[in-house]
Amino acid sequence: MKRSHLLAALVVFILSLLVPAVVQKDFVLQILFRIYLFAALGLAWNLVGGYAGQLSLGHSAYFGAGAYSLALFSGRLGVSPWIAALMGVAVALACALLIGGVSFRLRGPYFVLATIAFAEVLRLIAKNLPEVTGGDVGVQVPALFHGNVNRAFYWAAVGLTAVAFATTVAISRARFGYYLMAIREDEDTALSVGIGAAKNKLAALLISAVLTALAGALYGSLFLYIVPDQVLALDVSNEIAIVAMLGGAGTILGPVVGSVVLESAAELFKNFFKEAHLLIYGVLLVVVVLFLPEGIIGTLGALLRRRALLGGIKASARGVTGD
């Protein structure tokens, strides 16, 4: 990423912070909150699913851990909400250690299966322990912000996205980022140059879990009430993965673009097509998987690289004929 790109990202960040000065309507701010929240989630997922190439379809575990920890530690044990949110991060880290520690030693589909299974187990626990979690009825979540709530949550989501984005940029430039890509491309090769594959995959998952848990706490706290089938559902896991893949897994900008496209499309379809919006959503996904398997940014990037390469070949051909 060039300096000019980073500057552009900084400008976008500052403009995003200024949006509430212009946009006052609560429902618009809530849509924007959702776009940024899923951008942050997509960026978090991208570290594991994109850079390290380890497909996770169970990020709802960390998301739900964040939301439920805030609700339970604060609501039932009386811990202050922000401390409870941090405890949610700790719980998510523990979940990630358990899933990654066991399944990253194996190759093949074990990790993705473990992620789905673990998230489902958490959902079933939340549903079936009404004394603790409120069960299907759900549980109240304390407010993290007071006053102009929608604006505050919007800013928090923008901030989280910025943190996730900065983390991604830093990792993609560091040795750690190269290690993750090497593991994605070929684990044997990665091992042959001395990369501890299991250790690095786990590190990526832990960072991802931290960001996801924070997003979960924000989400729960905005709605003030959560039920298992909302924050621990497979739908959440899928949506996080789809946002990243639609934009371009393994690219820096992909998850952000994916979230803008998917979340605004979902909102539009909901208004225009009523109940049929899920159908359109599905068709959109099929189209992307078939025609843009590398995602929007991945495909654009490949096109640009090809043009640059062709340009270079043409230039050198001219040089040859010029002699």
């Binding site: 190269y178 090497a182 491309e185």
Partner: protein, 244 residues
């Protein structure tokens, strides 16, 4: 003390004796070749040295240290680099990035890794394709990329699994000229080849011949090709009597 000691190593896969009681040693800065037909056990031997598999019997020592039960990434850290017979490039990364991953073993700085990678690529005469993604390279360059990546880890020993197979004779000889200079990098090399004897004869200091997992000869290349057991394994028993 030899750089690498293979001390009566055996490995079975079920009923198949892939490697049977093999023993030889490699000295510092030496270029050795393990020669043998397809299925002789060359790749298995490399996998045993790099910890992909572990021997059933015997021991492997590297710089005097027992590495019999090492893990693959630990082997690389100790200074054993390897290439893969079926090339395993990091396809979506550029050639430079592929080699940088080797260099990252000794530096965490991306710019230093890139600098070291460029040096290695220059040695392998690959500077021109540095910014191409690995997926677009022809096989001759992919074989070189394997060597470049391994060499960038600054190994003391590099295992070259069939680096010349699939290359034309002229490509193979050009690569041999490059490999000949490996000792200048302070690297000993063990190559495995099936049949490109021209390359072996021109650059090897030592040759080990395997047949069905058994070591049938070891010595200087000129001596080994005259040994009756080698002629029998390669050409059949009747040529042995001709005293080829």
């Amino acid at each position: 003390m030899s750089l690498l000691e293979i001390d009566h190593v055996s490995k079975r896969f079920g009923g198949l004796r892939a490697i049977n009681n093999i023993a030889f040693a490699i000295e510092e800065n030496e270029i050795a070749f393990i020669v043998g037909p397809n299925g002789a056990g060359k790749t298995t031997l490399f996998n045993l040295i790099t910890g992909v598999f572990h021997p059933d019997d015997g021991a492997i020592r590297f710089q005097g240290k027992d590495i019999t039960h090492i893990s693959p990434n630990h082997a690389a850290r100790l200074g054993i680099g390897r290439t893969f017979q079926l090339v395993k490039p990091l396809r979506n990364l550029t050639v430079l990035e592929n080699v940088m991953l080797g260099a990252f073993l000794h530096t965490s700085s991306a710019s230093k890794a890139a600098e070291q990678a460029r040096e290695v690529l220059k040695y392998l005469q690959m500077e021109k394709v540095m910014h191409f993604t690995a997926s677009g390279l022809p096989i001759a360059l992919l074989k070189r990329l394997e060597i470049a990546r391994a060499l960038a880890t600054k190994p003391r020993l590099i295992l070259l699994d069939e680096v010349v197979s699939g290359l034309s004779t002229s490509e193979a000889l050009a690569l041999a000229e490059i490999l000949k200079k490996l000792p200048e990098w302070g690297v000993a090399a063990v190559g495995g080849v099936e049949h490109v004897m021209q390359v072996v004869m021109s650059i090897a200091h030592r040759v080990v011949v395997l047949d069905h997992g058994t070591q049938i000869a070891e010595g200087k290349p000129g001596e080994v090709v005259r040994m009756p057991a080698v002629i029998e394994a390669y050409l059949g028993a009747k040529y042995k009597e001709l005293g080829l």
